[in-house]
Symmetry: C2
Subunit: 391 residues, 2 copies
C-alpha cells in the first residue's frame, strides 16, 4: 500500500545526529559526539529517595493526571527563577514542558503558518531546524560570529523577506559554544521591533558557565513581549526526566497550553515533582558548582590538546560554558567523509553539516563535546583525531 | 502588542472537560467527571521499589537521553502484546509515546493536511477532536450506535467527501461506553479499502472488560495496513507516567518516529522502564483482575441507582468494560445548563456537548465515570443527581 504522508512531514528526515549516534553507539569508542551531562553528575540517589517519599506521601498526585501547564510548585519555582534572571513575570507566564524541545515545537505550532520564514543561526541545533521544517516553515541561516549572530546579515534578510521568528541559542551555543554579547542582545531586540518578528531564546546551557561574566538573558530585556524563552532541566539535572519550561507573554503562553493539551496532556508528574525538589534541595548549588568546575576543566584540557595535536591551520572556539566546542579544519575537506576514518580509529564526533540549513554542502567543521569523556579520554581521543585529520 | 497566532491554532479553545474539572476541583464534591483509574489500584509501592532498583543498578540508562522509538525492552513487550492480540507484527512496528494522546497527535501530523476530512464518532473524545482541529482538519461526526459507528452514515459521508482518516474508540467507548461488534469492525475495514481512508483505532480501555466476551481489535483484522493502533498504560497502570504506544504499518510508523524526535525527543525513561517491569511483574494479572472486578461492581451499582433515581424517560448505556457510561435525559433540556445546579448540590458530571463536533448545540446527554467514586458515593451522588434532573 502507498501511504500519503502530509505535506509538512513527507520530506522530513530524522536527525542526522541521531543517525551518527546510532552508527557509533554499539562500538567501543571515545565519543565526543554526545550532548548530555557527565554521568558522574547525575543525582540518582536524590531522585530515588525523593520518588520513594512522594509515592509514600501522595501517590495520587504523582500517578494520576496533572494539569497541562505544570505541577504548580514547579511552575512557581521556575517563575521565581525567571524573575531572578530579570524577566518581567507580571506580563509573562511559565508552563512546564516535556523537555526544551517541546518549547520549540509548541512555539512553532502556535506562531507559524506553512511557508513562514524562520531565521536561524548558521550553524544551529538540528532539533530546532527539524521542528520548523515539520511545519513547512522556511529556515534561513544567518551567520553566527564569535560574539553572536551577524546582525547586519539578519537585517539584510529582514529587508528582503518577512521574518516571522528568529531562533537563537545566545548562550554557550549549540554547536559553536559561543555567546552573544549584551550589546548585540539589545540591538537584536530593536531589530525585532523594527521588523516585527518574535524571538525564541533557547537557553539549555546558561547555568553551566565556567569562565567569564554572566550576560543577561534576552528575555530580561524584553519590554515589548517579543521573546519566548525555552528553559530545560536536562543539562543541569538529567535529560531522561524530560522536564523543560517556556516563559512567554501571556497571550502566546495561553495558546501554547492549549496546544500542549492536544500534544501530550501534561508532562510526567514524578519527573516534575522530583525536579522541583532537586532545584530547592540543599545540594543544588553545590551540584551546579560541580558541573561547572568539571566542564571547565575538561574544556580547557580539550582546547590544549586540540592546539597540540590538530593540524596547524585548524581553529576552535573558546567556550565560557556549556557542553560543546566547534572546530574548523580550514582545509576544504568534508568532515562527513572523515568521520568514517575517525570511527575506524576509535573516536566519534558530530560533523558540521548536521547543523546547517543546507546539509548537502561540504563543510570542514565539527562539534566536539567535552562533558562526557574523561580527561584521559580527551587526551587520547584528541590525539587520535589529530592523527586522522593530519593524514 | 498584538500577536499573530497560526491559522491552525488561533480558533482552538482548551478542552471543555478540563474547564469543567477546573470548576469542580476545589469544591468538596462527589465527582463523576473524572476519567482516571481508581486511586486504590495505583501500584505506588511497586513503582517506588522499582525506581530505587533501576537508579541503583543503571542510573545512566534511566537519566540520560533515550532513543526516540522507545526503551527497547518495552518496545519488545508491546510488540508481543500486539501479536497476542492478533496483529501482524511483521508488517507493523511499535513505538513508545508520551501517553495515548501523542499517538493521535503524531498520526495527525504525519497524515493530515489543512482542510482534510476526519470522520469521528459522534460523540467522541475531545482530545481527539481538538488534536485534529489543531491541524486545521475538518472533523465530521458520524452517529454512534449501541454496537458501534453507523456504517451507512459513514458510507454516505464517504460518497460525498474524501475522508482521509476515521478516528474510532471501538471498545468501551469514551464517552458512551459502547463497543463496536466484530461484524461492524470487519465491515469498517472493507469500507476503508473501498473509500481509501486510514483508521486510527484508539483503545485505552480494552483491558478493562468486566462483562461479555472479548472482541478482537480492529488492528488484528488489518491485512492491508490501514490501521494505526493507539495504546496506553494510563488506564491500567497510572496516567501520570505518560506512557502509551503506537502500532502502525512501518512506513507510517517511521514517519511518526521522525515526528516524535522534533516533538519531545523521547518519552521519560524512568516511566518506560518502570512500566515495562510492571507489565512483566507477577502481580500484573492480579492487578488487572482487581481493576476489572472493581469497575464492574461500581458500574453495576451506578446503573441500578440511575434506574432507581433518574427521571423515568432517562436512558443509559450498559458498558461491558472501561470507565464511563452515557446517559440521555431525553427531555430536551441542556445538561450544560443543569451542571451548575448539580455542582451546587454537590455532584459533578461531564455534560454531553463537550464530546460533540458542534459544541454550541444543546444536548440532554451526560457522561458519568464510575472508577473514581466509592460505592457509597455512587449511591449518594446518583440520588442527588436524580433529584436535580427531576426538579
Amino acid at each position: 500500500m502507498q501511504y500519503t504522508i502530509s505535506n509538512k512531514m513527507k520530506d522530513l528526515e530524522g536527525s542526522a545526529i541521531r543517525a551518527v549516534l546510532k552508527m557509533t553507539q554499539s562500538k567501543d569508542l571515545i565519543t565526543f559526539a554526545a550532548g548530555v551531562p557527565a554521568p558522574e553528575t547525575l543525582p540518582a540517589q536524590f531522585i530515588a529517595d525523593k520518588t520513594e517519599e512522594i509515592l509514600a506521601k501522595n501517590p495520587a498526585l504523582a500517578l494520576q493526571y496533572g494539569v497541562t501547564d505544570g505541577y504548580a510548585p514547579l511552575v512557581a519555582s521556575l517563575t521565581a527563577r525567571m524573575q531572578a534572571m530579570g524577566a518581567d513575570m507580571e506580563n509573562n507566564g511559565v508552563m512546564v514542558t516535556s523537555g526544551g524541545q517541546q518549547v520549540i515545537d509548541l512555539t512553532a505550532r502556535c506562531l507559524l503558518n506553512e511557508g513562514d520564514v524562520v531565521a536561524v543561526e548558521a550553524p544551529t541545533f538540528i532539533g530546532g531546524l527539524n521542528t520548523f521544517r515539520s511545519y513547512n516553515a522556511k529556515c534561513i541561516g544567518v551567520a553566527l560570529e564569535q560574539d553572536g549572530i551577524d546582525l547586519n546579515a539578519l537585517e539584510d534578510l529582514c529587508k528582503k523577506q518577512k521574518v516571522k521568528l528568529l531562533y537563537t541559542i545566545p548562550t554557550f551555543h549549540n554547536p559553536m559554544g559561543v555567546t552573544m554579547n549584551e550589546t548585540k542582545r539589545r540591538a537584536l531586540l530593536k531589530l525585532a521591533d523594527r521588523y516585527d518578528f518574535m524571538i525564541l531564546e533557547d537557553n539549555p546551557y546558561g547555568e553551566l558557565r565556567f569562565a567569564g561574566e554572566d550576560v543577561p538573558v534576552i528575555k530580561s530585556m524584553d519590554t515589548n513581549g517579543r521573546v519566548i524563552y525555552a528553559g530545560t532541566l536536562s543539562k543541569v539535572i538529567a535529560p531522561g526526566l524530560r522536564v523543560g519550561w517556556a516563559a512567554a507573554p501571556r497571550p502566546v503562553l495561553d495558546k501554547m497550553i492549549v496546544a500542549k493539551q492536544v500534544v501530550d496532556v501534561h508532562t510526567t508528574m514524578l519527573s516534575q515533582i522530583v525536579a522541583d525538589a532537586f532545584i530547592h534541595s540543599e545540594g543544588y548549588d553545590a551540584h551546579i558548582a560541580q558541573c561547572r568546575a568539571l566542564y571547565g576543566k575538561k574544556c580547557k584540557r580539550m582546547m590544549e590538546c586540540i592546539d597540540a595535536f590538530f593540524p596547524a591551520q585548524a581553529t576552535h572556539t573558546s567556550p565560557e560554558g556549556g557542553l560543546f566546542l566547534w572546530c574548523d579544519l580550514n582545509d576544504g575537506r568534508d568532515t562527513r567523509a572523515l568521520l568514517e576514518k575517525a570511527v575506524a580509529s576509535g573516536v566519534a564526533y558530530i560533523p558540521g553539516y548536521t547543523f546547517m540549513t543546507d546539509i548537502t554542502k561540504p563543510t570542514s567543521t565539527l562539534r566536539l563535546n567535552y562533558s562526557i569523556p574523561s580527561i584521559e579520554e580527551i587526551e587520547k581521543g584528541i590525539e587520535i583525531l589529530g592523527g586522522v585529520f593530519k593524514a
